[in-house]
């Protein structure tokens, strides 16, 4: 089964960029345009990793993270915030809400996939570890 990554992002250009980079690297992507749809899709499809914007309509990224972290067995799915929030304290707020990483827009396309894969491999290792 291919590795599936869910992209929750309301800005279509940003969504297209991340999708392009991930698909070029061989991943399957799923997309949602707001937090509510993203949460719904996540629960429905059980992706391997979620990339999530913070400022979105319906449900913002923090709410999505908190909702997911409350689900049983969801604590091991890496949750990466990719956001234009770059002020002091923004990173801490994101981590506190349950994100594993906070990447500031604009992303660096040359290194973005590598950054994501660091979390992916950790999650996959856990998933494939004996006794899981």
């Amino acid at each position: 089964m291919p590795t599936r990554i869910l992209i929750i992002e309301d800005d279509s250009a940003s969504r297209a960029l991340v999708r392009y980079l991930l698909e070029a690297a061989g991943y399957t992507t799923l997309e949602a345009e707001d937090g509510g749809a993203g949460l719904h899709l996540a629960l429905q499809t059980q992706p391997d990793l979620i990339i999530c914007d913070l400022q979105m309509p319906v449900m913002n990224g923090y709410e999505v993270a908190r909702a997911l972290r409350e689900q049983p067995n969801w604590h091991r799915v890496p949750l990466i915030a990719v956001t234009a929030f770059s002020m002091a304290g923004d990173r801490e707020t994101a981590l506190a809400a349950g994100f594993d990483e906070h990447i500031t827009k604009p992303i660096t396309p040359e290194t973005f996939v590598t950054q994501i894969e660091a979390f992916l491999s950790r999650a996959l290792q856990v998933r494939h570890s004996p006794g899981h």
Binding site: D11, S14, Q55, P106, I107, T108, E110
Partner: protein
């Protein structure tokens, strides 16, 4: 003897000759009687003698003597009589009962000789002998008068006080020691005193004055005491010169008046005993209305209930303090208006006991000012909050489109969609540089704005400076190598630890090193961390030396100004925001250090961040 001569003898008898009928009314009154007692013949004849000139306490004596005269025919005695002006005189009296042929009383004929001066001399001798030593030893001036108001004794303190010799005073009416304007009233009071003699203060509540021989007046306080002797009742007056106290009182009043606050002095019963003009103006009551009133009339109704208890509490533990600390206090004006006040209380020890002095300040203006200030602060906080939100939104909104520009330029240059020809590659690199320039501009601008609003969070912690320099070097080395520059880093051993803000330090070194790489086309960029001792203190110098074009002398003063980037020959090569050095200098100042440089055209530049190590 002719009837005429008889009449003349009657008239000119040097002593008062008075005939009184059996019913006690006056039948005859000669010239000497007029002189001694002050009543004219018309005023006297037909009047009851007892009411006219006999003091009450002599009524009994008078009737006894008349009885004796009836019995014996003639009787001789000494007594006191009252004159028209209220004063008493000593008289030596001979009275004869004149009978009709049938043996019934026709009238009493009295011969009254004024022996006041003789009596004074006698009294003087008596009291002198008896009281001299005692009265000399008292601190007060003592003046003793007999029943006729004549001075019979003065002690030396009194001589000094009034400037008279003893001999000048003995036998004189005591009024000689009073200013003229008080004399008439005094005569009447004096007569009254002898009718009810008891120890008391003279003229309670009145201002009394003494008169010196030289005409000077001085304020006095006088105590009177009756003294019974076999020569009759004497009055002893103890006189105290209260000029000093009056002056002190006046000074105190002046002091109260000069106080900036309304001052109210309150006694133990809570009644106002002294108020200054400021208090009168503040509360709208006149001084007369306030004095003697309870202080509570100045307190709004709803606070009055507890006030007397607080007052009692203060008297039990009197010390200077402000009233109702932390409470909002209000004053009440006569017109019912209230105003916020601040009150300080202090105990005031006086001869009349413990008072409270309260200084009352109307703080209406200050309250209004404070409220304005609070409103302004809220306004400013809101403005600051709005500004913060604006920065955050601006940052967010500018980054989102930049994400697509930098991202897709990157994917194209990474040739993910497919190969590029040389021109496409070149043009895309120009787009990429432009986009990165825009990003650094946004970052620096936000930092500057936050710095200006003191919103940059500086977190001071102990950091490894070698590690910071290494990180910066690692991130910028690719840029230097791309330009084929020699890039060296030299660090002290052991590593330097410093208490400072990591992000700010790192940002400054990135800026300085980035500039050096940017402006140097060939040669080297050398990054160094060194320790110096300056004026006995350890200084850390982070220096970046390049072999770039150098900065012209005339451009150097504007180097750290925002957007003052020096025009280089090849503008295409310029990157960065034009805010880098400006921001770096401001950051270095926040860290307690500074940035220095030396540079010359053709010789390269060295920029140094200097931070104190201790």
């Amino acid at each position: 003897m002719s009837p005429n001569l008889t009449a003349q003898l009657w008239e000119h008898n040097p002593d008062a000759l008075i005939a009184v009928g059996p019913d006690g009314t006056i039948l005859h009154w000669n010239l000497a009687a007029e002189t001694i007692f002050g009543y004219s013949r018309d005023e006297a004849i037909g009047q009851p003698i007892l009411e006219l000139i006999v003091p009450k306490d002599c009524f009994e004596e008078e009737s006894r003597i008349q009885a004796e005269a009836l019995h014996r025919g003639v009787t001789v005695y000494e007594s006191v009589r009252r004159c028209k002006n209220g004063t008493l005189v000593h008289v030596s009296v001979s009275t004869k009962a004149v009978l009709r042929a049938d043996g019934q009383l026709e009238y009493f004929l009295s011969n009254k000789k004024d022996v006041t001066h003789l009596k004074v001399l006698r009294d003087a001798k008596l009291v002198e002998a008896r009281f001299h030593d005692l009265l000399e030893s008292t601190p007060d001036a003592i003046v003793m008068v007999n029943v006729t108001g004549r001075i019979v004794l003065v002690n030396s303190q009194a001589e000094k006080m009034f400037g008279h010799q003893r001999t000048e005073l003995l036998g004189q009416p005591v009024e000689i020691l009073l200013p003229n304007r008080f004399r008439t009233a005094h005569l009447a009071h004096r007569g009254g005193y002898f009718e009810q003699p008891r120890t008391r203060t003279m003229g309670a509540g009145l201002e009394l004055y003494g008169l010196r021989k030289d005409g000077d007046e001085f304020p006095v306080e006088i105590s009177l005491s009756p003294l019974k002797t076999e020569e009759g009742t004497m009055v002893m007056s103890a006189i105290r010169n209260i000029s000093d106290r009056k002056k002190a009182d006046q000074k105190f009043k002046d002091l109260l008046e000069s106080a900036p606050d309304a001052m109210v002095i309150v006694n133990r019963e809570g009644r106002m005993v002294l108020v200054n003009t400021q208090a009168v103006q503040l509360f709208g009551w006149s001084r007369e209305e306030l004095l003697g009133q309870k202080i509570e009339i100045l307190v709004p109704e709803r606070y009055r209930g507890n006030h007397p208890d607080h007052r009692t509490g203060f008297f039990s533990q009197p010390r200077a303090r402000s009233m109702g600390a932390g409470l909002e206090l209000f004053g009440l004006r006569k017109d019912g208006g209230e105003f916020p006040v601040e009150i300080s209380l202090s105990p005031l020890e006086t001869e009349e006991g413990l008072f409270v002095s309260s200084a009352i300040r109307d703080v209406t203006e200050r309250k209004r000012f404070e409220q304005t200030l609070r409103d302004k602060n809220v306004e400013l906080e809101n403005a600051a909050l709005a500004k913060d939100r604006f920065f955050a939104s601006m940052s967010h909104e500018l980054r989102t489109p930049l994400n697509a520009i930098i991202g897709f330029t990157g994917t194209l240059l990474m040739k993910l969609p497919g190969p590029l020809n040389v021109e496409q590659d070149k043009q895309l690199q120009i787009v990429q540089r432009g986009a990165r320039h825009l990003l650094s501009l946004i970052n620096d601008m936000l930092d500057l704005a936050k710095l200006g609003a003191n919103k940059l969070d500086f977190k001071t912690e102990t950091i490894d400076c070698n590690a910071v320099v290494d990180e910066v070097a690692a991130s910028l080395r690719p840029d230097a190598e791309k330009k084929k520059l020699l890039f060296t880093v030299s660090l002290p051993d052991p590593a330097v630890m410093l208490n400072t803000d990591r992000r700010a330090l790192s940002q400054i070194i990135i800026n300085l090193t980035g500039n050096a790489i940017k402006f140097t086309e060939q040669g080297s960029v050398q990054l160094r961390l060194q320790r110096h001792v300056v004026a006995g203190r350890n200084m850390l110098a982070f220096s970046v030396e390049d072999t770039g074009p150098g900065i012209a002398q005339q451009d150097q003063p504007r180097l750290f100004e925002a957007f003052s980037r020096i025009e280089a020959a090849d503008r295409r090569k310029l990157e960065g925001s034009g805010l880098g050095l400006h921001l770096s200098r401001k950051l270095s100042e926040q860290l307690g250090g500074r940035i220095t440089f030396h540079s010359a055209i053709g010789k390269g530049s060295t920029f140094t961040l200097e931070l104190w190590e201790d």
